[in-house]
Amino acid sequence: MAPQISVQTENLTRKFGHFTAVDRVNISVEKGEIFGFLGANGAGKTTMIRMLCGLLIPSSGSATVAGFDVYRQSEQIKQTIGYMSQRFSLYNDLSIEENIEFYGGIYGLSNKKIAQKKSEIFENLKLGDWAKSVTADLPLGFKQRLALGCAMLHEPAIVFLDEPTSGVDPAARRAFWELIYQTAAGGTTVFVTTHFMDEAEYCNRISIMDAGRVIALDSPENLKQQYDQPTIQKVFVELVRGKERGEMEAN
């Protein structure tokens, strides 16, 4: 059986005036895959994500997200995706329980569904003992788990995670990645954007963007072997600097 495709782009391009932020990008992400999306500042990551979230119309090329077309079906796309930012969009003065109720309401879930989701989050994310605690008082690792839970309330087909674990201690980070692996095993596609290279090592495949183009796409292990570098950080630097060298020679 052919794997189901969750995100597919073909020559996806976005220009702002004369500036090409995303330049003919082709990616194909399978359902249930954990896909890392890396790039330096200004490489085009954010523009790419905004197009895939249905927030920005491409200049040319095509893309489908969970089978929906980015030009014509952006509303359906918005209902099909979840988004979690490193700067959590949780309400600090609400309790864990209240945050879940609030986001459930925004997503238009029924009260019954919200109650069911609440108990799932308490159970799966081990937050039950803290249900009544005010979010501001929680350790960073707890906030992350709650933010993920809230981003997943409406059972999205694809969840976008923006630098999800920067700054937390290694134990909390690994616990969080366990949840991500669980999420992916349940069939949700996980898109991780980060410039923390150690987060990239946890992904199934990663793409590296530079100046609007995808300049590498493979599993972290294969990339390290291919470029003969010990870490993804080194691969990244090698790729971008190598490209700069090439451009200088070409000129």
């Binding site: 330096a40 134990a171 923390f196």
Partner: protein
Amino acid sequence: MSAIEIKDFGKNYDSLQAVKGVSLLVEKGELFGLIGPDGAGKTTLMRSVCTLLKPTSGQILVNNLDTAKDIISIRKILGYMPQQFSLYQDLTVEQNLNFFADLFKVPEEERARRMVQLYRFSRLEPFKKRQSGALSGGMKQKLALSCALIHTPEILILDEPTFGVDPVSREEFWDILAAIRKEGTTILVSTAYMDEAALCDRVALMHLGEFLTMGTPAEVVNRFPFPLYRVTGENLRSLRQFFLKQPNVHATQLFGDALHVSFTEAPPRSAWRGWRQESGGNLKTCKRQPPSIEDVFMELTRKGDDGASN
């Protein structure tokens, strides 16, 4: 005489013990890294070295001067780059450098020489007329570093200088630090990126206000006592369940397209052959994996958790 001598230093904020009695010597010319996640106490410790906070207990000496008493003399020999970008956003690159040179009373001729040097390090000269608020993240960090270096300090204190900086700028920033160190400057730098530890001469791993361990990066990594393997297979989740049932397995962790398995003692080759069969072909490859600083950190905090009440 050490460049920085921290003796049983503790710092409380009301009832919160941010740093709990730590000791450390940073030698002259050393590049020393404080490695730890948010809330470890790194910033409190660095601000105290910079005379910005008074110890609750213990003492910190900088070039044998006491941070609680010799504040003015210490500030002359220190360069400090705080975590928050604290330059004037509406001043240009050049104006910011001049402002800091004025603050530290750097004489005219020396200032000109130093600027040339700093521009060479930072490659910011083409941008010297640009307002600092309009620089990229990586360039801002290089400018902040240059301002901290304008008075040619003996000792440089950098609080998470690479936080949020993209990988290429991060690499460049560390190259600059290596060059500054070569000139004889002592550097104390903090970071939450465990992989940056390898770039320091020595590191201390810090967690909840305490040092977990200290040493050269190689020494610290060697303190991970469990043989670690990178294992690949057809189905990693079931492979993981399989390994959790085997004797001598210490821990397992999914890592992208592989599984990391640590053992209480290295399994013989025959064991791997057996597992390949028992797993019904699920187990494909295995190879020894060098532990990372993160593995060491995990292990040391796991032990710490056994008796702790929180």
